[in-house]
Symmetry: C2
């Protein structure tokens, strides 16, 4: 039996967790902040971390909510604002868990295609003209999950202008933004239109998912509603974890850790892109992201979709591409490379090509 | 201006947080378990902690779910099983946050009175005979929040027999059970009828609320539904916090910490009961719990209800008694004593008596 290679989960690699730094931070938090960090608190999260985020994003602190990962906060926002039948635009493909959240709230979803690295802004315009005005447009503008694409500055300007014109909110999900391996960052949708964008992000990809700390910046009234939902549902999130995250930032470890991650991941993505070049040329096309966790591979029309059960028998774990789409997606393969060793990446792509040709 | 004394929140006192032990545990977790504790995982929670709980309660591990406090797990259970109009029995008074969760799910609540330390089992029987069969009976059988009462063994037997006969589930909330200052523990409702009871509890009151670790034991199919809700909503809870909790238990610190808490709290409740004896005799009656966080005071009918805003102006913070009731509760005062110094307790009761007489 071959070693199993998993392209199935977008998680950070355990070998780069900042253990030594976290030891210092936990000690610091327990010795200096235990009265607050080990106690219940406000449902919006640990005050000092909220204030740090507010300063960083130039917003008042009452617009900042922190929680057990940003997905949880999105669930709150959906619970307090989405009614059965409400219209929501999502990129297609997009993060599968977010589709689940909107669907279970009964939202009516319209997928806006991403092709050639660009979200189909004409389709957005067309829907709006036809009276299809959404409550939200959910976008991962930087190093999208699952496709790896980055929205261009022009498209960001057009999209935020439409949000402003038609009065819908963009929900910008930015967990990968800081993991840029080359090139220069593009302003966030939030930076372009802070009143038309709900911004969400997390420290899971930059420090550790086990600390479960994400945040969301919302218009004040929506923030109040989300905080009430949080308070009613679990009193408060883990102040201990959030205090550790803040200490990690305050001690300057976050920049250091991002540099460490960028070094590891940029080498892994080069290996992946080279392997795709070597093995996948005849079968499909793929993105070449400057950062993030994922390369999105789309198989050519004349190639059979990959049967993920058969792939699993061949020692290759894949996520079903259809999960990222409202419809279709059979030929889409998400390739997360961050948590794989270089030889696993090469061998994984080789196996994938073999399965495609079988 | 007098120092403010707060009888408003049932929280543990910061001065007995087990800082030194937690330092050892966090170091141990980071040095030995970082690959698992700092990563994403199963939505049901950290496997080794779930297995510990399963062993302790003699259930298979797939019946155990852990989360960011037990209230969060109750919210999940309600989301996956309560439909608008479903009938639920609650003790009256009961934990206000739980009333909020059931109400927002649209449950129809019936309050079962607690008087003279006993839940009104005849009322339960009457409702059932009249065809009012609930989906759940929510009970805090040990050192109830907010009244401090303990359900007798006989009542536990009668209630579980009714649950079995009529096919409803009891949700037993047990966070205070281990904080017993005298007398012997009574078997849990769960111990008497493990198939008719959902058991929920937490380490918040025994270790630290900041670590946000609670658990729930459910019938297998409901456990699966709750786990799916958790996974969809936030991927996984904080494995870091949960690994620390388990290490704390494994190193024998939990028993030590409970002993420490019992010593502090039993002295504080004696002070509270003495102060009530000194100042409150003419105005009401109160419970005399052998454990937990709360004494429940009910003012006599000829005494005006306490205006909590006026009390606050007098430097005494109280929770509105009506929050613990479906209706009524004006004359109910919850007195949490654990996080108050002895002189604050005495002075707080003195102020309360003064306000009542004003």
């Amino acid at each position: 039996m071959k070693d199993v290679i998993s392209f199935a989960r977008g998680v950070p690699p355990v070998e780069v967790f900042p253990n030594e730094e976290l030891l210092l931070c936990t000690e610091h938090v327990i010795r200096n902040h235990s009265a607050q960090a080990l106690q219940y608190g406000n449902g919006a999260g640990y005050g000092p971390l909220r204030r740090h985020i507010a300063t960083q994003y130039h917003v008042p602190v009452n617009r900042v909510v922190t929680g057990q990962g940003s997905l949880q906060l999105l669930d709150h926002l959906i619970r307090v604002t989405i009614q059965e039948g409400d219209l929501v635009f999502v990129e297609q493909p997009t993060y599968d868990r977010v589709l689940t959240l909107f669907k279970r709230a009964g939202a009516k979803l319209i997928g806006i295609g991403i092709t050639n690295n660009a979200v189909d802004i004409e389709a957005v315009r067309e829907h709006l003209k036809n009276g299809k005005e959404p409550k939200y447009f959910y976008s991962i503008a930087d190093f999208q999950n699952p496709s790896g694409t980055v929205m261009s500055l022009n498209l960001r300007k057009e999209l935020t202008a439409l949000a402003n014109q038609y009065g819908f909110l963009i929900i910008e999900d930015g967990p990968y933004r800081h993991l840029r391996y080359k090139g220069n960052p593009i302003p966030r949708l939030f930076d372009l239109a802070p009143d038309n964008v709900v911004y969400m992000s997390s420290y899971s990809k930059r420090i550790s998912p086990g600390l479960r700390t994400g945040y969301m910046i919302l218009p004040e009234k929506k923030a109040q509603m989300v905080i009430q939902m949080a308070t009613d549902s679990y009193v408060s999130p883990s102040y201990f974890d959030q205090a550790i995250v803040l200490d990690f930032i305050d001690q300057g470890f976050l920049e250091k850790q991002i540099n460490r991650l960028v070094k590891v991941f940029s080498s892994r993505i080069e290996i992946l892109l080279a392997a795709l070049e070597d093995h996948m040329g005849p079968f499909g096309n793929w993105t070449r992201p400057d950062g993030g966790f994922y390369v999105g591979l789309t198989l050519n029309k004349d190639v059979q979709p990959v049967d993920i059960n058969k792939a699993s028998e061949q020692g290759l774990l894949l996520t079903d591409g259809r999960g990222f789409f409202l419809d279709g997606g059979e030929r889409f393969v998400r390739l997360p490379f961050c948590a794989l060793k270089e030889e696993q990446i090469t061998e994984g792509v080789r196996r994938l090509a073999e399965i495609i040709q079988a």
